[in-house]
């Protein structure tokens, strides 16, 4: 109970997050620390790479706390957390990618799967022009390359 893990976020908005055991064990890279041999009173500080800012880590911890609080059906509030059916703005989409990368780094497989699935929903069933405008992808195929792809029946399959 007295083991404390601290996530230290640097960069844009530096902040330290203290995690209790119920939350920390959800991180693949951290849970082993709880079982290692060290003085029960000590604090372990984990430095988070600069590219994951404190806002993103905060969002991930929100997810973990909801998860730790009740160990039953999570499907309902997990759907709620990510709103995959909506079309949120550019900032939310960037946030989704950032959460995916950060949870990959921290070893949270379940959150990686959830965020990847949400990202997949933004690609599913949309034509290339819509995807390009959603994600600001610069279309740089030459006319020849595009025609080749279409000739191979790609666009037809895409409907």
């Amino acid at each position: 109970m007295s083991k404390i893990i601290v996530l230290k976020c640097v960069g844009h908005n530096p902040k330290d997050f203290e995690l209790d055991e119920a939350v920390a064990v959800q991180f693949g890279c951290i849970k082993d620390l709880f079982h290692s041999d060290f003085d029960a009173e000590s604090k372990i500080v984990v430095d988070v790479p600069m590219k994951f800012n404190s806002y993103i880590i905060g969002r991930i911890l929100e997810f973990c706390s909801s998860r730790a609080s009740f160990s039953s059906d999570r499907a309902y509030w997990e759907q709620d957390f990510f709103h995959p059916c909506r079309e949120p703005n550019q900032r939310k989409r960037k946030e989704l990618i950032a959460i995916m990368e950060a949870s990959e780094y921290l070893g949270m497989e379940s959150l990686v799967e959830l965020t990847t699935q949400s990202l997949a929903n933004y690609l599913k069933g949309k034509n290339p022009l819509t995807i390009r405008s959603l994600w600001k992808v610069e279309g740089d195929l030459t006319a020849e390359e595009e025609a080749k792809a279409l000739a191979m029946g790609v666009a037809k399959l895409g409907h």
Binding site: F70, P128, K136, G139, L157
Partner: protein
């Protein structure tokens, strides 16, 4: 934006774009191939292919994605699938999904399965709702398959089965006999998880030789009868959902967790047949430390209690109840709690149960010369147990009165019970039991 700055902006992506500096950048194309391919595994191949038209960067992402997924539709015919396979370049496949219901596709199915197996596929999902198709022999021999789901398939291997890496097998609405199942099991030495969903032909399920099997899931609809007997001495986790036809557990001595769900929405419910079978099953579950009783099971237990049937003593430490809170469950719950001397944690999910069974229960009990007053034990307890009354706090008090060692109680309430949230916190009279609330 010129071409140069567009490229530069793309490279910077996740380092600065969270900072809200207002620069519009392409956040997704900058992700490594491995991650983009992982994203594409979640969508059907016909949509994944569309991404090759996005930009140069995206041209070859889909064809190296270790996953293919085809579902029959008016726009996806056999020719399309064959063409896609010629363009596909990934040497190794992790996931292959084939969902076919067109008879015109039948001549091609063998070739598609062979294609997947030639790429050492690990996870295969085949839903083949077509007539007159039986699997080729080569399907039954694979050292790469780890997870296999078969739906609407006639599964009767004529040759011997060798799925040496298979850990997870699911059969959904499949025609599979006891003999075929025995053949399959003998070819799966490392099988850990087995699921049967509406596999009616099964009768006696003998899992005694599946030494690594730990999880068994059996779902039977109201019209299904099989399997009737389950012999699974090595499993640790059992999920059993069935309706009026009894299921007998021969040997489940290694179980640590069981979830039993009886749903009897059918009018042809037979209490006389069901109740003794349920009590026999309870005998076999008395050593299990983690139990879940769901659906109408508690009502069946109430009938047993009122008929004076003896209940076993339970070693359960964590009990979950998924039920409607009304008077028909009270005798059963009271007896189960009284017989659980080691119970530490109780979780109650309120769900909406059909009340057809409850009405039938009245009819059955009347026929058996019981009446509603006996259900409520004493006039004092003659509470009208529905949402409008204060029955939920009364229920909580009933639990606290009938348990000795309880530490924690979780109540997961659906929207109809929201009004009780505020008062639940004040209910715990002794400091020993902590009560937590959640809702959905």
């Amino acid at each position: 934006m010129t071409d140069v700055s567009a490229t530069a902006a793309r490279r910077i992506r996740s380092r600065h774009c969270h900072g809200g500096d207002g620069v519009v950048v392409d956040t997704i194309s900058g992700l490594p191939d491995v991650i983009l391919q992982h994203i594409l595994t979640f969508i059907p191949t016909k949509y994944a292919i569309t991404t090759s038209l996005l930009s140069k960067r995206w041209r070859h992402v889909w064809c190296d994605t270790p996953s293919l997924s085809f579902k029959s539709s008016p726009t996806l015919n056999a020719a399309c699938i064959n063409q896609t396979l010629t363009l596909y370049t990934a040497p190794k496949m992790m996931h292959f999904l084939l969902d076919i219901n067109e008879k015109d596709d039948v001549p091609h199915i063998d070739r598609w399965i062979k294609f997947a197996m030639s790429r050492n596929v690990e996870n295969m999902f085949l839903s083949l709702w077509v007539d007159k198709y039986s699997f080729p022999e080569f399907l039954y021999v694979s050292s790469s398959l780890k997870q296999l789901t078969l739906k609407h398939c006639d599964t009767s291997p004529k040759c011997s089965v060798s799925w040496t890496s298979l850990k997870n097998l699911s059969l959904v609405k499949c025609g599979v006999s006891d003999e075929s199942m025995a053949k399959i099991l003998s070819g799966c030495p490392v099988l850990e998880c087995l699921t049967f969903n509406h596999c009616d032909e099964l009768s006696n399920l003998d899992l005694s030789r599946s030494l690594r099997l730990r999880t068994l899931v059996v779902e039977r609809s109201s019209s299904a009868t099989g399997p009737k007997d389950i012999n699974a001495p090595h499993i640790h986790y059992l999920y059993l959902r069935y309706s009026q036809f009894p299921c007998s557990l021969v040997d489940v001595s290694s179980l640590t967790e069981a979830n039993v769900n009886i749903c009897t929405n059918e009018l042809s419910y037979n209490a006389r047949l069901l109740q003794p079978a349920v009590m026999d099953m309870l005998e076999k579950l008395q050593h299990v430390e983690k139990l879940t009783f769901a659906g109408n099971l508690l009502q069946v237990l109430s009938v047993a209690q009122l008929r004076g049937v003896p209940f076993p003593m339970f070693k359960v430490k964590a009990l979950t109840l998924k039920t409607r809170i009304f008077h028909y469950i009270i005798p059963g719950i009271r007896r189960v709690l009284q017989n659980s001397d080691d119970l530490k944690k109780l979780t109650v999910h309120t769900i909406h149960c059909d009340i057809k069974l409850a009405k039938r229960l009245d009819h059955y009990l009347a026929f058996q010369a019981f009446n509603k007053a006996q259900l409520r034990r004493r006039p004092k307890d003659a509470v009208h147990w529905d949402v409008k009354s204060k029955h939920l706090p009364l229920f909580v008090e009933l639990v606290l009165k009938n348990t000795k060692t309880l530490d924690k109680m979780f109540l997961v309430l659906d929207h109809r019970y929201r009004m009780f949230r505020k008062i639940i916190g004040t209910l715990s009279r002794n400091d020993k039991v902590s009560i937590s609330l959640d809702s959905y």
